[in-house]
């Protein structure tokens, strides 16, 4: 007999060890997310994926699926709070979408569209953050960093290079680079690093790729992130089973 739980009234099957997020996405139900990438371990920091399980809030990306639980995801209340999370991320950094190379491929921007975010709502915090364009091939624009920690984790766990870390704490948190000067040019970063592929926003990018795909024809220009994400997730699953 299959294990299932209820997600917004729909029965979702799951295998032991799967998270609510895994099981939902596999069943074709999109759960918003930013700091999670299914190829790597989740660490539940952005909180965009927050759902309720039997009425209590949890991060779907780390919440183990348990049989017969009542899970809510796509509710007006949760989506309103998710919009607030996105607005917080927008005012915390300096995001100028119209001039950003990531526009159309950015998960922050596309999540904002998808969740119907109309404006930044809160006063901008206008932080002062140093960009790092010292490296010939790689650029780090800290203004756009949402501190999701993906590059940190992937560089440490997959590339085994530990190029990145988050320093300071609280609102002063910032991404730092492993090199004597603290600059990318003196680090061991390379365009082939897995860490270079995971930034959900336009913070950590490869140089000279600028506008290879014209604006208007990018992933999230054509379809909402909910559709793209599900397709990518399911394609990934099929790829693995081949």
């Amino acid at each position: 007999m299959e294990n299932t739980f209820s997600l917004d009234g729909k029965e979702i099957p799951f295998e032991p060890g799967q998270t609510v997020w895994d099981a939902a996405m596999a069943a074709g139900v999109y759960i918003p997310h930013l700091c999670h990438n299914p190829d790597y371990e989740p660490h539940s920091s952005c909180r965009l994926c927050t759902i309720t399980v039997n009425g209590r809030p949890f991060a779907a990306c780390t919440q183990p699926a348990v049989a017969d639980q009542l899970v809510h995801n796509n509710t007006p209340e949760l989506n309103a709070m998710r919009r607030t999370i996105l607005q917080m991320l927008f005012v915390e950094g300096n995001h100028y979408c119209p001039s950003c190379e990531k526009s159309g491929n950015c998960k922050l921007q596309s999540s904002a569209y998808d969740l119907g975010m109309q404006d930044n709502h809160f006063p901008q915090l206008f932080p002062h953050r140093e960009p790092d364009s010292s490296h010939p091939d790689v650029i780090l624009d800290r203004d756009r960093c949402i501190l999701c920690g993906l590059c940190v984790r992937v560089s440490r766990d997959v590339d085994k290079k530990s190029i990145f870390a988050i320093a300071n704490r609280g609102i002063k948190s910032e991404l730092i680079v492993n090199s004597p000067s603290g600059k990318l040019v003196d680090s061991k970063v390379s365009v082939d690093d897995e860490a270079m592929k995971v930034c959900p926003v336009g913070s950590l990018m490869i140089k000279r790729k600028g506008f290879e795909v014209p604006i208007g024809q990018r992933d999230y220009d054509k379809e909402p992130i909910s559709v793209v994400s599900l397709r990518q997730f399911q394609g990934r699953k099929e790829g693995r089973h081949e």
Binding site: M81, M88, V91, E92, I146, A167, I176, P180
Partner: protein
């Protein structure tokens, strides 16, 4: 100072060697370096990185910048930290800090040009009953007065080493004002462990324990230890002892779960982070009843089959280091710790790990990360520490006072313990009373005492409000003083801050809001950004620029913090806001500029840069914003 004679390498090398280059010891190494050099300079960071982690050098600065007491920049020969919680502010810490700064010719947070001294503010240092208090090079000076400030300024100017300052400056008082079963029945060192081992003897009298200390059977079944551990657990269940660190989880359940989970080893962690402003009971326990706390940890180790216990204690209590090390050493000599405790097959030892200024490290998984030498950010929620704790092994985390209670339970039995307190909150509780009253200090009551009784006993008059359980707890007006301090009514870690009618609760809220902003670890979005947005809104009110819409904003952000934050810090950071809005509404109303929306953006301020560039000071260069003075 001796440090000037030693090169950086000469300082750091022996410390790194002492810790056998263990990456888990990173924080301990950094603390010791900071203590000697008053900074952790780049070259030292590089050396530590190389020795502990090979090539990676990001972890060291990432850790240094997380903890308030560590610094890459040199902080001077004398480093002064003023505690800055609301109680300290009420007792004039800001004025005293200003006096010291002016005597020394130094600005807050900046090192004096000659590199001699710097003065800082920090969160609570656990001295609210003898505030204002400061740390000088890590040593606590309570009950600061203008006269003492002058002595300190003179001593610094005369370059007198802190060790030679008058001893009377450093006397920390216990202020135990009311005693009940915990304080009154100081148990003999070893008696709780003996009680456990006696249960083993009773179970298997003939082969149990070898009185001659000859080689011992290691198989626990033969020794009856397993049976005795079960018995101890049963007593813990009978006692119904609930955790004293805030959440009130039943200790016996935690112990049993950790005992039953698979693991290559098990650990007993004692949480002495005591970061909740206004809390100081763990300090008093460790100062006077350390044996009892260590005994409780040992009983836990015995019950869950652990070999190592770790006391995680906040850096603010560094002045207790020698004392605690000595108690542990004595216990080893008495064979109450170490191999074959009291001649039994049971071996257990206790280490001390120090924190370095981070409230969030009191959160149990953040604490475990910190003990592993990392930034103190909470782990993902599952698996819980009882399954996947320190070094990925089953781990019990309990508060200092919980272990003291466990020691009593082991000696006196669970039923005896459960006779005290209320149905759902057995035993007694230590309350840390501070603020507007005649006798601040520690009061031990059976659970179920009313707030009013505590206020009467400590000589509080004209009380406007109490803050129970620190900023993350409850702000209660007079109409609620008949409520009972117990898990079934007003739960708490035991903090009672008292505010009389002369106080402005807005200042209290503002102080709490800044505390949470400062202590947010920054891992998750709601808390990292939300705590700052809340402070900004209060800043606006402070200037008399608040609007009705801001009140709605406070509610929305609070709701998000409560439901979407990753850990208890963010989840509770909104509590004082919600209490203030519901119960102390006038503090907002009298600061409302209008009932409409007013932008936080000040046009006048924005024009300042242009004015400076053009050198204009004429009235036409200013925009009249009609800044209302807050009506006090």
């Amino acid at each position: 100072m001796s440090s000037t004679k030693l090169s950086h390498l000469e300082v750091v090398r022996p410390i790194v060697e002492k810790y056998a280059k263990d990456p888990n010891a990173l924080l301990q190494i950094l603390i010791e370096v900071q203590e000697i050099l008053h900074c952790v300079p780049k070259d030292v960071q590089d050396y530590i990185s190389k020795e502990l982690f090979g090539k990676s050098r990001v972890r060291v600065p990432a850790v240094i910048s997380f903890y308030s007491f560590l610094s890459e920049q040199y902080l001077g020969e004398y480093v002064v930290h003023f505690a800055d919680n609301i109680i300290e502010q009420m007792l004039g810490n800001r004025e005293l800090a200003a006096r010291l700064c002016s005597k020394l010719g130094v600005k807050i947070g900046k090192v004096r040009n000659d590199g001699r001294v710097s003065v800082h503010f920090t969160s609570c240092i656990g001295m609210s009953d003898q505030a204002p208090a400061i740390l000088v090079n890590g040593r606590t000076i309570p009950k600061l007065t203008p006269e003492k400030v002058d002595v300190i300024a003179q001593s610094i100017t005369a370059q007198m080493p802190v060790e030679r300052w008058p001893e009377s400056l450093f006397v920390v008082e216990d202020n135990i004002r009311r005693s009940d079963v915990l304080f009154r029945r100081k148990i003999e060192p070893g008696s709780a462990i003996k009680a456990c081992l006696d249960r083993a003897k009773a179970a298997h009298a003939p082969v149990a324990l070898d009185e001659q200390l000859s080689p011992l059977p290691s198989d626990s079944d033969k020794t009856g230890l397993d049976h005795a551990a079960q018995e101890t657990l049963a007593e813990m269940y009978r006692s119904d002892l609930r955790g004293r660190g805030g959440a009130g989880f039943k200790a016996a359940i935690k112990w049993e779960t950790a005992r039953d989970k698979k693991g290559s080893s098990r650990y007993v962690l004692c949480n002495a982070d005591e970061g909740e402003p206004g809390t100081f009971k763990d300090r008093v326990l460790l100062q006077n009843y350390a044996d009892m706390v260590f005994e409780g940890m040992t009983v836990c180790g015995f019950t869950i089959k652990a070999k190592l216990g770790i006391l995680y204690i906040r850096g603010e209590y560094r002045y207790m280091k020698e004392h605690l090390d000595a108690v542990l050493q004595k216990r080893r000599e008495q064979n109450l710790l170490g191999e074959h405790i009291l001649g039994s097959p049971f071996s257990f030892d206790i280490k001390i790990h120090w924190g370095a200024g981070a409230y969030v490290c009191g959160m149990e998984t953040a604490m475990i990360e910190s003990i592993e030498g990392k930034r103190g950010s909470p782990r993902k929620r599952w698996p819980l520490p009882v399954e996947w704790g320190y070094k990925g092994q089953p781990t019990v985390v309990n508060n200092v006072e919980t272990y003291a209670g466990a020691a009593i339970v082991a000696v006196r039995g669970g039923s005896w313990f459960a006779q005290h307190g209320t149905m759902q909150s057995t035993g007694t509780k230590l309350f840390c009373v501070s603020g507007d009253c005649e006798r601040p200090g520690i009061y031990e009551y059976p659970f179920g005492v009313s707030i009013r009784e505590v206020l009467r006993d400590c000589g509080a008059r004209n009380t406007q409000a109490v803050q129970i359980s620190g900023p993350s707890g409850m702000m209660l007006p007079e109409s609620e003083f008949d409520r009972l301090l117990a898990f079934e009514d007003v739960p708490s870690v035991g903090t009672v801050m008292i505010f009389d009618k002369s106080r402005d609760m807005f200042d209290v809220l503002h102080n709490f809001a800044k505390f949470f902003q400062h202590e947010s670890c920054g891992l998750c979005t709601p808390c990292r950004v939300g705590t700052t947005l809340l402070v900004n809104i209060l800043d606006k009110f402070k200037k008399g620029q608040g609007s009705a819409l801001d009140l709605e904003e406070i509610k929305n952000i609070s709701q998000l913090l409560k439901t979407f934050s990753h850990c208890g810090l963010g989840q509770t950071a909104q509590a004082p806001f919600m209490d203030a809005l519901q119960k102390f509404r006038p503090i907002f109303d009298k600061r409302l500029k209008s009932k409409e929306f007013i932008p936080a953006f000040s046009l006048n301020a924005a024009l300042e840069e242009a004015r400076q560039l053009t050198g204009r000071t004429d009235p036409g260069a200013f925009i009249h914003e009609d800044i209302a003075e807050p009506a006090h």
